[in-house]
């Protein structure tokens, strides 16, 4: 029993360490003055919130472009992930072990080298410094995770149900959409959530491949952190993290709902 108490204290400490900086971010966002050595701000203000929502550098256009980019990257990574997962989980063919390696490749290349190299490769294709190029590199970054998640669920489901549907006369397309897709939906949603968050948080790849022409929230955030205004940096970081977590929570809810729906007879 004493041991369990010790473990609980350890977990409590871990939770405290995770939550403390998040709480600090909220306090700094709303602080008007918080000078040394006070433990709490002396006065509060809505200055940073106004700046964030209505200022010259307001968040809306950035939020829009980042969310659109993240949504597209999530959809594409999940679609490619689904195709790859089907091949890897349901088919046997020569060269199959290479698929695993190919799926992991973007993770094995150091991120900075990957970004610079992709920029060079896209220069040859005429896609450097464009939105399409940035989208492509975001999809590539998210793909290893999407493939891993979707291969797991596709392999777990197997091809048996679709074969039964085929025996009963359904074509391959109808077999997939009517039989497999509903079962794969939770995996598809977690792949989309993961890919969205990854795209949303990309800094170096967007910086290099976008060549400064593609503006996202993650890109705009860094100068604020390098600048001296802690309150302004905090409010942008809060908006950034909050919106990412919001999307994550939305997907988690959808997954939960879908699974509950499936439980009903």
């Amino acid at each position: 029993m004493r041991k369990a108490l010790f473990l609980r204290l350890f977990l409590g400490l871990a939770a405290f360490c995770i939550l403390l900086p998040a709480a600090l971010l909220v306090l700094w966002s709303a602080a008007a003055r918080w000078s040394w050595p006070n433990l709490l701000p002396e006065s509060w203000s809505g200055r940073t919130a106004r700046e964030l929502l209505f200022g010259a550098q307001s968040i809306w256009p950035l939020l829009g472009s980042s969310a659109a980019l993240g949504g597209l990257a999530a959809a594409l990574a999940t679609l490619i992930g689904l195709l790859t997962a089907r091949a890897a989980a349901l088919y046997d063919f020569p060269g199959k072990p290479l698929v695993r390696f190919a799926g992991l490749l973007p993770l094995l290349i150091p991120g900075t080298v990957f970004a610079v190299g992709i920029h060079l490769a896209l220069l040859r294709l005429g896609l450097a410094d464009t939105l399409a190029g940035v989208l492509l590199v975001h999809v590539m970054t998210a793909l290893p995770y999407s493939i891993a998640i979707l291969t797991d669920v596709t392999a777990a489901l197997g091809g048996g149900l679709e074969e039964q549907a085929a025996v009963l006369g359904a074509g391959p397309v109808r077999g997939f959409f009517a039989v497999s897709l509903p079962e794969l939906t939770p995996g598809i949603l977690s792949s989309m959530s993961m890919a969205f968050i990854l795209s949303y948080s990309q800094y170096f790849t967007t910086l290099i491949v976008g060549g400064g022409r593609v503006r996202t929230l993650a890109l705009a955030l860094v100068p604020y952190i390098q600048g001296g205004d802690r309150s302004l940096a905090s409010v942008y970081a809060l908006a950034f993290t909050g919106s990412a977590l919001g999307v994550f929570a939305l997907f988690e809810t959808l997954i939960h709902r879908w699974q509950k729906r499936g439980d009903r007879p």
């Binding site: 700094w28 040394w36 905090s234």
Partner: protein
């Protein structure tokens, strides 16, 4: 058996992406050998690598990156395993969700956390003042923007400890509720069951997590940029500085640095793979 041709059709997009990733590495390596036809450079040479390796600044940057990556990954592997074990023992509950938060928070925001918390006027310094440990900000140990990269390492730990726990959780929970409990039923104490059964069998996940976070920290840009010293720089920050050189003829020099990061990462991953495969086989054989 289903048709092979369908499988290859399904794999076409992945093949395209893989070709692009290989082209990316190839382009970096080609330019690092001084082959940039656009600038009229067509003769391959190792001069840029020689130049990079002759510069002491390269080795101090390499030292910083190795130190940050090794210290943060080692500490995160140990503490993350402990966190995972505690979660398995007590049951995940809300904490199982909470450990996903640092994984989702981007590195730039983690850097801001470190500034708000660890700077000499940060919250920890204020707590130290309130407790009477220090009387002015200058007495609080400087962790940020110093050549020791303490703040960078701590910021990595904030993200990586939960990552190791999350990455290992499924395997360790599975092992613990089958073989770990069997050992306890046979009379082993919980600690002994953990150390002799659950931990060794969870090592494959822990060792994979270690490699992932080590390589990430070795090649990571944002945290050492935002929290590190002006000199020495971390290797990716040093390489980016060379990449941003206004004279485009300096590009091959920058690409040699990226080439070195790529080759060093690949070499370390291969070495680690060989080492752990041998060790893990011995652990498994000993069971």
């Amino acid at each position: 058996m289903r048709k092979k041709r369908t499988a290859y059709l399904l794999l076409l997009p992945l093949m395209g992406m893989t070709a692009l990733a290989l082209l990316a590495c190839g382009s970096v390596l080609t330019q690092s050998l001084g082959v940039v036809p656009a600038f009229g450079l067509t003769e391959p040479t190792l001069d840029y690598y020689r130049e990079a390796l002759a510069d002491p600044a390269f080795f101090s940057a390499l030292g910083v990156s190795l130190r940050v990556a090794l210290l943060s990954a080692l500490a995160a592997a140990v503490l993350g395993t402990a966190l995972c074990a505690a979660l398995v023992r007590v049951g995940p509950g809300p904490m199982g969700l909470l450990i996903r938060l640092p994984i989702l928070v981007p590195h730039a925001v983690t850097a801001l956390f470190a500034i708000l918390l660890l700077s000499q006027t940060g919250l920890l310094a204020r707590w130290a003042w309130a407790l009477g440990v220090i009387s002015e900000p200058g007495e609080f140990p400087q962790l940020l923007f110093t050549p020791g990269y303490g703040g960078t390492i701590l910021a990595y730990l904030w993200k990586e400890i939960p990552f190791v726990a999350y990455f290992t959780l499924a395997l360790m929970a599975g092992v613990s509720c089958t073989l770990g409990e069997a050992a306890e039923n046979l009379g082993a104490s919980p600690l002994r069951a953990f150390l002799t059964v659950t931990l060794p069998l969870s090592l494959p996940a822990i060792s994979q997590a270690f490699l992932i976070i080590f390589l990430f920290a070795f090649g990571g840009y944002e945290l050492p940029l935002l929290l590190g010293a002006t000199l020495p720089k971390a290797l990716p920050v040093y390489a980016h500085l060379a990449y941003m050189h206004p004279d485009l003829r300096q590009r091959p020099a920058a690409m040699a640095l990226y080439g070195l990061i790529l080759l060093l990462s690949a070499a370390m991953a291969t070495l680690y793979g060989l080492l752990t495969r041998h060790l893990l086989r011995r652990v498994e054989g000993g069971q």
